[in-house]
Chain length 312, copies 2
Amino acid sequence: MLAVLAGGVGAARFLRGLVQIVPTDEIVVVVNTGDDDVFHGLHVSPDIDTITYTLGNGINPDTGWGLAGDTFRVLGALERYGAPTWFRLGDADLATHLYRTERLASGSTLSEVTADIARAWGLGFTVVPMSDDPIATRLSTPDGEELRMQEWFVQLRAGPEVTAVRFEGAATARAAPGVIEALREAEAIVVCPSNPIISIGPILAVPGVLEALQARRARVVGVSPIIAGATVKGPADRLLRSLGHEVSCVGVARLFSAWCSTLVIDEADEARAPQVAAVGTSAVVAPTLMTGPAEAAALARVVLDAVGIAHT
Amino acid sequence: MLAVLAGGVGAARFLRGLVQIVPTDEIVVVVNTGDDDVFHGLHVSPDIDTITYTLGNGINPDTGWGLAGDTFRVLGALERYGAPTWFRLGDADLATHLYRTERLASGSTLSEVTADIARAWGLGFTVVPMSDDPIATRLSTPDGEELRMQEWFVQLRAGPEVTAVRFEGAATARAAPGVIEALREAEAIVVCPSNPIISIGPILAVPGVLEALQARRARVVGVSPIIAGATVKGPADRLLRSLGHEVSCVGVARLFSAWCSTLVIDEADEARAPQVAAVGTSAVVAPTLMTGPAEAAALARVVLDAVGIAHT
C-alpha cells in the first residue's frame, strides 16, 4: 500500500500519473482540508473536490477546479439576494457541496461522505480527508487581519502580504480514521508537488502525522513544487518568500528534511542537488513538469523508483 | 389595510388582480407554510415562493411553480450521488432555498427571510408566513401511512386516498409576528381561492388565528376554489371528497361559515347560492375563473365590493 499526501491541483495531476503505474486499490490519498470553507451554508472541500473531479475525469482543465462545462445559474440567481458570489461555484459542482452538507448535517463524517463521493465518481483509490474535525488555515496580514485561505487566495487574489500562517483547530483535531495507520503501514509515503505551507503544512499539523512521518522518514519521498524558483500554479513561491523561506527546491528540502528522506527536484534545478543533499535529503533529478498524463506517469515512476517500489 | 389568507397558485393569481386595484403597501398576505419541506438540506417554502415568484414576474406560467426558463443542472448532478430528485428544484429556484436556509441557520426567522426575499423580488406588499415555527401538513392514508404534503402531492402524484389531515406542530406553534395584529386591524380579510383543507386549513390551525377570524367574521370574505364541483388546479376536490365534505361551493361555505360572512362563488354555481346562504354565509355570484390578470382584477373588485372596500 502507498500513502500519498495531497493538496489540490498539483496533487491531482500527479495522481493521474500514479494511477497508471500501480493498482489503484493500493493507493490511500490523505488530502488537505485546511482550505475547506462554507459558502451559502454549504461545506466546500476544494482540495478533495479537485482530486475527485480530476481523477473522475470531470475537472475543468482550464482552471484546475470546478467541473468542465459547468454553468453558474445558481450563483447568478443568488446575486438577487445580495449573497457574496466571489467564490465561483458551478451548478453541477454545487450538487457535490449540497450532498456533502446534507450528509454531514445528518451525522455522517467527512471521511464517510468523501469516500461515497469518490465512489460516485468511479475512483478506484481511497480518498481520506486529513481530519474529520474542522481545521482552518488562517493567514495573517501586516495590518493584523487574519484571512481564511479562500478569502486570501480567491477573493483577494493572493494580494495581501502574508506574515504568518496557522491552522486553527489543529491542536485539538484528530487524524481521520485510517490516516495514521496508512502512514505507519505504507510501503512508501509520497508527498505530492503541493504547496508546502498551505497544502502539506495543514496535514503535518494534524496531531500524530508528523511523528508518524518521522518514524517512516526513510520511506518518505516528496516532489518539489518549486521549479527554478517559481511554482507552476498557485501561490507557493509567494508564500515561501513572505514567510522567510528560500523559494527553491532547497527551501522545500529544508522544510521537509526532518521527515522526508528523498526529494525529487526538476532537471532545471540539477545544480541545486548538492545543496538539497546538504540539508540531509537525497535529491533525485528528473523532469517534474506534468504537461499531460504521460509526463505525470513518468514522474510517478521516478518517485516510486526512488523508494524502490515496483510499478508498471 | 387588507389582510389576505393565501395558499399557492390560486392565491398568487388572485393577488395579481388585487395589486392592480388597491395600493400594494396596504396589503398583508399571510401564507400557508404547512407544505414547507426540506430537500437536500434546504428549506423550501412552496406557497411563499409561488406567491413571490408570481408577483415578482418570475413564475413559470406553465406549471404555476418554479421560475420561467429555469434549468435543472444541480438536480441532474445530484443524481450521481443517489439523491432523491422527484421534487423538481430548478437552479435559480434553488438559490432562493439556499439563501433562505443559510439565513435560517444564522438565526433569522422565516418571517425575516421571507420579507427580504419579497423585497428582492420587488414586491410592494407584505408577505408573512403563518408561523415562524415548523408546522407540517400530514396526510393519513388507508394503509396507516402518514405522508408529508409534497410526498403525497408531488412524489405520489396525489395517488393515495387521504383519510385524515393533521398539522404537526400547530398546537405549540405561534403565529408569526404581525399575523394576529393584521387580522385584528384589517379593514377586511380576504380568503383567496386556495385549497380549504391544506392551504387555508393550516393557517386556521395556528393558535389565535381562528379566534381572530371569528371576532372579525363580518369583515371576512372568501372566494370558493370549487367551480361546478371541481378545482381549477390542485387536489382540493379530491381531498374534500376523501374527507367527507361536499365538493361544491356549499361544502366550502360549510367549512368557512363559522368565521367567514361572505363567499364569492362562480356564476356556474349560481343555482347553489341559496344553499350557501342557508349555511349562514352570504353568497356573491361572479365569474371566478382567473384566466388572466384582467379577470383576476375583476374578481378582486367583486371581492372588495362585497365588504365595501374602496378600490380603483
